[in-house]
Symmetry: C2
Subunit: 336 residues, 2 copies
Amino acid sequence: MGAMDSQFMQRAPHEMLAEYLGDDLAQVNALIRARMASEHAPRIPEVTAHLIEAGGKRIRPMLVLAASRICGYQGQHHHHLAATVEFIHTATLLHDDVVDESRKRRGRATANLLWDNKSSVLVGDYLFARAFQLMVECGSLRVLDILANASATIAEGEVLQLTTAQNIATTEDQYLRVIRGKTAALFSAATEAGAVLAGADEAQIRALFDYGDALGISFQIVDDYLDYGGAGDGIGKDIGDDFREGKLTLPVIRAIASAGGEERAFWRRVLEKGQQQAGDLDHALGLLARHGTLSSTRAEALDWGARAKAALEPLPEHPLRQMLADLADYVVARVY
Amino acid sequence: MGAMDSQFMQRAPHEMLAEYLGDDLAQVNALIRARMASEHAPRIPEVTAHLIEAGGKRIRPMLVLAASRICGYQGQHHHHLAATVEFIHTATLLHDDVVDESRKRRGRATANLLWDNKSSVLVGDYLFARAFQLMVECGSLRVLDILANASATIAEGEVLQLTTAQNIATTEDQYLRVIRGKTAALFSAATEAGAVLAGADEAQIRALFDYGDALGISFQIVDDYLDYGGAGDGIGKDIGDDFREGKLTLPVIRAIASAGGEERAFWRRVLEKGQQQAGDLDHALGLLARHGTLSSTRAEALDWGARAKAALEPLPEHPLRQMLADLADYVVARVY
């Protein structure tokens, strides 16, 4: 808790980024509002406004803006690129909520609950198409290539997640692929494409890709760690959601890898067959403790956070570079 | 029926196209098979193979190939572009079946029924991402712009269809927008992008866009006409599907525009409130006959078919040009 406390004494890095990038961000928000509209299908802005105005932190657009600014970009297309990644992110949220049958997102009822699954599927498709138009306007085939590959990684990761859930044979390699799709692919596409747009050299482009990739992976591992309680500080989501849904996340994958026959039978019953009863979550937490997998998951998150910071090394000195380093610290500070 | 009979005496134009374009089409099919695979998520090829191998006519890929060949294209990227439009088409089918809660497609159980809605949503997203990668490989920003705009038109049309269903205030303008999204936008993107890829001049590009647009519109109007029986030849789908689902198609929109108070009350009850009883479809058919809207819909389809043929005029003489003209005739021959 010590590190968390000291983090809260000062402003969070994403707030510092939002202030530093204030003018850019205002233009990105104006572009988002202009492009999510549809003259002919009023259902579209209803659904998108519900989600886009709901107070996300705009982390992904800020990653684009920061990357392009650090690399000295002087044009205006970073706004289009920033709006692009926010639209892709919002489209995947709409589709995720249909897939997960979610009822809440960012503290509000989800679109699939307020309207219907049909609207969520089709408005998600619309946002993806609008993202596609915005990125074409950037005029760079290499940027388009990065975003096309990220889109494929995201979609493949989502399908893989569908087939690894309730499957105790899931490997760490598959887990990494799932969380790259879920979080890291769009982070790294945002930072890499921002650098490409700015005409950065290959070492800087690679550095910013690696930063986004490691940041996204550490972010997701922290999330999965906190789902089993973490420091028990009540900041995270409800404990045990992943357990109840039979999701194979890193603490469990590692515990299963060390499990004997009786333990395997337990995991098979609760995760694969979904036959859960009172006391099972406590028993699972006991197994994670026995095999030390919560602390090894925590160490893994910290390691990826350190990799994110180290990746920034080839970049020029810049206030935004320091904020990105602080952001990497902030993301993993939740595991202290 | 006379025109239909004579059409059936010879081979259908899409069969002639498939033969003429045989080598190209074989390469497109190989590319489709290679790109729909996913090493890591085996669910993906299962779902896509179910749909892509199900024996669609490959009309859209053939439109790309024909357009680029007529304009003298010598490269290999028309295969990528042809695979792109088939992937986009397949992705929209997967999402449509979720939205419509369909149970059958091309005579086989739909993916949402065989697997689940989740798989249909996410595999659709995957195919769209793969389409995006394929079109980036074509290396033309203008081709990407055409496909981005088509994607937005398709998605907007789908959402609009959702909100015009069960709404008797739907206008002909809205109807046209819906069917452009549903069918014509991808047809016209296929032919326009094929011409652009070939480096055709602006008049030829415009001609091929207009051809695809008019062909798609006539195709969809014919479909909507046949849903109310058409010539009653049993070739089309079951009569009255659109009526039962409360869809506002051209014959009904025109009948409502001419309706008096009592007729409006009937349409409101059966389409908006969905309160249908025995004899309602017959009564509806009587109203269409009274206002002559089946014959005016038929005339509209023929008019768009004629526009498609006329659009081909600026193009050079070519066996494929004749086949495209025959295809336009063939599409509307169903209304004779």
